[in-house]
């Protein structure tokens, strides 16, 4: 167990293992995303009330779900880097932020486009939309905070603290549809009890959610690899790697 943690803290080991994971995970993810999108766009029935505009659900919901899950990953990485001063946790924290920002942005934009034909408006200050907008600013805030410091150790510490403080927003996003009942409907997919979504729509949706999780994992590893190479540029193993490729 401890040797595993020890290895996890080793940049060359992490770089190598992530490379062999990405070699099969990345192509599989891209194929799954294309297949899932095709399934949702062309092979599912239309919604009886919303018609075809509901097809946006197959990107909107997965993006939002994984944007939230990504925040957990980031906050946990932040906690680990604060408590145990683990360098690779700091790398993971920094790698999460741009992916989370991109997914939150996708959730907001597709939601806005979905809102126009469904609710008749691009934007409302609905509780869930507002709390998702705050999530976007938290992610962007962490990206900006990293750039603002010259001292990268201090930047990492500040970002870890910000990521932990920002977790306050996460339960608010989850509960927003129940606390402030407005345009967003309460959750249709439930782990306990009957889901209120038909199987013909549920399966492609679950498939896309899993694909987006895999996408997050791929992007996280790729960002971490790039970050490792930048930080370890002066070490012998990176130089050997660089000269091998050049």
């Amino acid at each position: 167990m401890w040797t595993f943690f020890h290895k996890l803290g080793s940049p060359p080991w992490l770089y190598q293992i992530s490379g062999s994971i990405l070699r099969w995970l990345l192509p599989m993810t891209v194929i799954a995303l294309i297949a899932g999108a095709t399934w949702g766009l062309l092979f599912t029935p239309a919604d009886f009330r919303q018609g075809n505009s509901y097809r946006i659900i197959y990107i909107h919901v997965p993006a939002a779900v994984v944007a939230l899950a990504g925040y957990y990953v980031m906050a946990i990485a932040g906690a680990v880097s604060l408590i145990w001063k683990m360098k690779m946790a700091d790398v993971a924290l920094k790698a999460c932020a741009p992916i989370g920002a991109a997914l939150t942005f996708i959730a907001l934009v597709t939601g806005s486009i979905w809102g126009k034909p469904t609710w008749g408006t691009w934007w409302v200050w609905d509780a869930r939309i507002t709390s998702m907008l705050i999530l976007l600013f938290l992610y962007l805030g962490i990206v900006a905070l990293y750039e603002a410091y010259d001292n990268k150790a201090a930047a990492g510490k500040a970002c870890a603290v910000l990521s932990l403080v920002g977790t306050v927003n996460i339960p608010i996003i989850y509960k927003s549809v129940d606390w402030w009942y407005s345009l967003h409907q309460p959750a249709s997919i439930k782990f306990t009890g009957e889901s209120t979504i038909d199987a013909s729509m549920l399966y492609p949706l679950l498939f896309m959610i899993i694909s987006f999780y895999a996408l997050f994992a791929c992007c996280l590893l790729m960002n971490m690899r790039a970050e490792i190479l930048e930080r370890e540029g002066r070490t012998t193993w990176v130089r050997a790697l660089a000269e091998g490729k050049a």
């Binding site: 946006i56 991109a102 790039a226 990176v238």
Partner: protein
């Protein structure tokens, strides 16, 4: 397939412009976050290789600088 024709799939009973726009924006953003780290990694490796060359031959580096 749910739609009768390609035309119907593009139109989606008037919702096509919203649905396809949402998917197009998503594809663009996902492409960006998949390509950006690769470019960063490649640049970092190039940088490291240049540094390694300078370290190996300090006199040459001094002459060219």
């Amino acid at each position: 397939m749910y739609f009768d024709s390609l035309e119907a799939a593009i139109q989606m009973d008037g919702h096509g412009v919203f649905v396809w726009a949402a998917y197009a924006i998503t594809v663009a953003v996902l492409a960006l976050i998949l390509i950006a780290p690769r470019r960063r990694a490649r640049r970092a490796l190039r940088h490291a290789a240049a540094q390694a060359r300078r370290a190996q031959s300090p006199t040459q580096a001094g002459a060219s600088a």
